[in-house]
Amino acid sequence: MTTELLSANHAAAAAAALAGRANRVGRGFGGGVYPITPQSECMERLCDERFDKGQVVRVESEHSAMAVCIGFSIAGARAFTASSSNGLAYMTENVFTAAMSRLPIVMMAVNRSLGPPWNIWAEHGDTLMLRDAGWVQLYCEDNQEVLDSILTAFRLAEDRRVLLPVMVCQDAFILSHTMTPTDVPSQETVDAFLPPLDLPHRLSDRPRTVGALDGPRETEVPRAEMQRAMDDVPRVYAEVQGAFEATFGRRLADPVVPYRMDDAEIALVSIGTTAATVRAVVDEARARGVRVGGVRIRMFRPFPEDTLRQLLSRCTRVGVLDRDLAPGQGGIVWSEVRPAAPQGSIVQNYIVGLGGGDIRPKDVARILDDLCARERAGKPQFVEVG
């Protein structure tokens, strides 16, 4: 293991390269890559990596980037790509195809605002838009977590009980372009953590059509199988956490990361880097005697509703911070968290930090003040930052 000064983009590429090389004893590694701000540094670094048994293909669009990954994966190779924002929107058709073909592709997604207005800064709507695509979704809070999550993602995706693609998400610029000291494991340890991929339905020399036409019954059965696979993900993830700790000597974050929630009556729920700011505000409020805690949802698919319900069971007030907006509905995280909150509790949605607006502790403190002062929940509230 070495410690390197890496941006999260470079950390993701380093992890993908390690995972790719680990499959040199299998059927190799590859993927299609296409640039988009703020992901480009990831695919650039991947293009500079050397593989004994791998090929990175510089394609003409995100749509083809995922299609090339589908080709690599259905042929039994390990496949990776990265994208962001409008790139993900352009890729979407094949994002669904990858999951419905049960291909264990891993994608790093940098969360960026969808245009117009054209804005390259952090917003979560681009990957949340894909929450129903059949991918496992992990949202990261720091660079080390990005690297660790990429390695984890391959092991999770390739598990026979799962066989679903995994999306590792990180906030634009806040992580993607910020360099921090990052532990990069050796190839030998990654080799030990990631056994060669053995895809049961890979295209070989046997006549078989993958992705045939089907009637209703032959469509609902594989859909139900996807749901069962998603149901298995938390259990498999826990096993992977154990293996990860045994191999790399550090603990991988849980699907839901609580902070000072043990006796909390008030909870602030968020995803991504917002959680770090929430922690600072929780500490400050705790010092004043406010019984508040933070909840970071790391795994958004499958959605950890049971864990959330347990964590929030004693809460009377739940504030959900959304760096995204589904117009006509409100925050996407809020709309999913709401059923997990106790009956009778005040669950208020705060739309904050759209288009990369800098969410500072004072903004979250204002949100907390508003939540504490409420007699009932209102409509999703837009919070001005900065």
């Binding site: 293909v57 394609v59 749509h63 690599f72 094949n94 036409l213």
Partner: protein, 306 residues
Amino acid sequence: MSANEPILGGMAQTAADRSTPLLRPGNSNCGGCGMSVGLQFLSRAIAGTPVQLVIPACCAAVAAGPFPTSGYGAPVFSSTFASAAAVATGLAHVARLNGEKTRVVCFVGDGGTYDIGMATVSAAAERDEDLLYVCYDNEIYGNTGGQRSSATPRGATTTTTPRGSELEKKDILAIMAAHRVPYVASISLAHPDDALRKLRFALDAKGFRFVHMLAPCPTGWKSEPADSIELIRLAVRSGLYAVYEVFEGSRVVINVEPEHSDAALERYLGMQGRFRKSGVELASVRAGVERSWRELRARSALGGPG
């Protein structure tokens, strides 16, 4: 029958083909489907050697039939509409990385090639991916009910050009040859010896190979199923469909010399309801054909003796 037109000799339906066919008996394709005949040609060229097919949304994907049956005697991946050449890229690299002998073949209609897949095909050609791309061109979106594509010729009525298309057909062979790929060819379903030779060459060549076939669609062309091969013969004889090959984007070889027969062109147009309805004039079609041949001759001459 002219001197350069071979006799078919039961090309599409011999016992040898039926024992290990690429397109299995009992598939759901329409009678007189040019694509189906093209698949039999491809089947004979492959002759039992390993291939992997990538077929996007098109009639050829429907021909695979519902799970768990498969209309194809080869492994197939059904890709999204625009993605055949990109998925095939992944498959071809994995085959190379693992030293496998399989050839990756895209089998795609005109919609998936000329229109929605154009960027994907162009990029795969530009990268010189090691795959064979076969475009069967029925000059419409056949699978969705016969709408106009950019392969639809001028004068053809379709469900979206009810009074006849006013636009010229896109010259896909010139576009692909301009990528300077190792091999680009058109094949005639009425000239099986020439077609087989070229398909065999294309299968065994390295790098990006593009083969185009004009594939009658009786349903969309409003023609008799039994006339499909005759229509191709007339298209070639009249000069409407040029049968040639281009090596490395420069050396152009014309494989069948047309008679530029007005009678053949008149019969070709007259045998199809799609032209009868629009009342397209022979003279205007002839003018387009002559322009295409002037350009092709010029490119052929520029290519030098090779």
